[in-house]
């Protein structure tokens, strides 16, 4: 079993979540609260990674991260090397690919906080920040939890984009999914099976725990009469 690949995958998921959770709270709340012309196009753009083949997403990311693109050159000057085939590049790709998994559940959960409740917070004299912290975030919590779990699970299992952007560099870009593929290619069924089982159990536990937590939270609001 490739422990380095597993650690790398968890590390990738951690960094992805660190950037994506606050971003999805901001964007999800903004989209839930506002209506403007062109909102549908922004929502379509956010959902795009859901329908695009990972190789296509990976291809565009690879091109934009390469030293021939302005963005690639900018990061090369900033970091000393291109983003392509690096862990930093993998984090950037993972964030982009996971945007719909993070933003959409958060947006839906903010939408479920009724206008009356939000206005009641204002009438109670709460500032925007107080209302967000005390009222909206706790009520949107199941959606945020769901977004976190989906993003975590999807990052662990992402294959196409990771392979295109990061390649297969041990300790740098070889995540657990790549490692499983690598072991299959090398006819090492035992290692591939162990890692696949571990990934399966990890995903199951994560999803299961999130379901239990969300159910417990929602149970509080339901009438016990």
């Amino acid at each position: 079993m490739d422990i380095t690949a597993i650690t790398l995958s968890v590390k990738l998921a951690f960094w992805t979540l660190l950037f994506l959770v606050p971003l999805s709270i901001g964007v999800g709340r903004w989209l839930a609260r506002t209506t403007f012309r062109g909102k549908l196009w922004i929502e379509a753009l956010i959902a795009l990674p859901l329908v695009l083949p990972p190789t296509v997403v990976g291809y565009y990311l690879l091109v934009s991260m390469g030293s021939h693109s302005p963005l690639g050159r900018f990061f090369e000057q900033l970091l000393g090397s291109t983003l392509a085939f690096s862990f930093e590049g993998l984090v950037a790709a993972s964030i982009l690919v996971n945007i719909p998994f993070a933003v959409l559940p958060v947006q839906r959960s903010f939408e479920s906080v009724s206008r009356d409740v939000r206005e009641a917070a204002q009438c109670c004299g709460m500032s925007t920040w107080q209302a967000l912290r005390r009222i909206e975030l706790p009520l949107a919590w199941p959606g945020i939890l769901s977004a976190t779990v989906l993003t975590f699970g999807h990052t662990l299992g992402e294959f196409g984009v990771v392979l295109m952007v990061g390649g297969n560099i041990p300790g740098e870009t070889r995540t657990v999914s790549i490692a499983i593929y690598d072991r299959i290619q090398a006819f090492d069924q035992t290692a591939a099976g162990q890692m696949a089982l571990m990934l399966l159990l990890l995903s199951l536990v994560t999803v299961g725990v999130s379901y239990v937590l969300a159910e417990k939270w929602l149970h509080r609001f339901r009438s016990q009469h």
Partner: protein, 362 residues
């Protein structure tokens, strides 16, 4: 004094309203008349195209001067139709949410006081999901009064409650309003509710103020046809004036071939078309052996056209002999029907005192 001046296209609002401080005023009108929008505009939840809201000389909004105070900075309490309690917080925490400007110990003390005032002490640890409709309403009220607001805004606070719970809460709320000594603006479409709770009524229709006055005066004497219709007056009759005495305020109006005496009428020009009304309860039945009828005022003969028997009242529709084509409604105790042999087709004598005839602006 609370001065509210609003203009807006959607929803349509065109209003100049002056509400007395430290009293309860009910905004009454049919659904869709703009009552809730007015309340939301006062709270700062609806930004109208033009607004000027002054609460005891403090300007909350003035679009001409570019003044806008955010809702959170307006000292108000607001109870909306479904109470909008925070579902993840207990009753006590809900009330404490309105007191975040206070230190924690003071916050709890004041929240408990508010819960006690709203008669909901003892259930402070319950979540809204585990409270009944009436209890939720009390928690919402406790939260609204916790900040000691200068204006308390109540938007149909009884609409989600059954009649008996609502009636019980009327009593509690009246007591609470007396204790608070604050300005209360209540939105309702229910005239009975408004009459039970408010000292002043403001009739609203299509976003406009139709009439404003004390509750007693409004319920007894609407000034226009529109107000009378909104106040559910049944007998609204078009006729003309024949004579008007400017000194005594007495007039004579013609209805069909009948001449009716009217007291306290505005000065009317002879032969001018006008509307008059009388409340069904002010039309009196004259006993068959009628003696001393001279003090009863206008005596009319009528034929009973229709009878509707309700639990407490019987509504009798009459065709007045020699009167206009309109039918007149009167209200009787059900027991009076058999006692005075009032049945469909029966000929009866009725009286309308000149003081109960109300002349209406068109």
């Amino acid at each position: 004094m609370i001065e509210v001046s609003l203009n807006h296209d959607a929803p349509p609002l065109d209003l100049d309203l002056k509400i007395k401080s430290n009293q309860t005023t009910a905004l009454v009108g049919p659904s869709g008349s703009g009552k809730t929008s007015i309340l939301r505009a006062i709270a700062g939840l609806l930004k109208t195209q033009r607004s000027c809201i002054k609460v005891d000389k403090t300007i909350w909004s003035d679009s001409d001067q570019g003044v806008w105070r955010a809702t959170a900075n307006r000292t108000l309490g607001y109870v909306c139709q479904n109470y909008a309690l925070f579902p993840h917080l207990t009753a006590l925490q809900n009330v404490e949410s309105a007191l975040l400007h206070l230190p924690e110990s003071e916050r709890r003390k004041q929240a408990m006081e508010s819960l006690e005032k709203a008669c909901i002490a003892g259930l402070e640890d319950r979540l809204p999901a585990n409270l009944s409709g009436g209890q939720r309403q009390r928690v919402a009220m406790a939260r609204a009064i916790a900040r000691r607001p200068s204006v308390l805004l109540l938007d149909e606070p009884f609409s989600a409650l059954d009649r008996s719970t609502a009636k019980r809460l009327y009593i509690e709320l009246n007591q609470l309003f007396l204790e608070l000594h604050t300005t209360v603006i209540l939105v309702t479409h229910d005239l009975d509710e408004a009459a039970q709770l408010a000292e002043h009524l403001c009739l609203i229709h299509h976003g406009r103020q139709v009439q404003y006055g004390t509750t007693n005066e409004m319920l007894r004497r609407p000034t226009s046809v529109e107000a009378a219709q909104l106040l559910d007056f049944k007998n609204i009759i078009r006729t003309s004036c024949t004579a008007s005495n400017r000194e005594t305020s007495n007039s004579q109006i013609q209805w069909g071939d009948l001449l009716l005496e009217v007291e306290n009428a505005p000065t009317l020009s002879p032969n001018s078309p006008l509307f008059w009304t009388v409340r069904p309860s002010d039309v009196t039945l004259v006993r068959a052996d009628g003696k001393n009828t001279s003090e009863l005022g206008n005596l009319l003969h009528a034929i009973v056209d229709e009878l509707v028997l309700l639990r407490e009242w019987a509504v009798v529709t009459l065709k007045v002999v020699n009167g206009g084509p309109e039918r007149l409604q009167m209200q009787l105790r059900p027991s009076a029907l058999s006692r005075h042999q009032v049945r469909i087709g029966a000929k009866i004598q009725i009286a309308i005192h000149p003081s109960v005839i109300i002349i209406l602006d068109e």
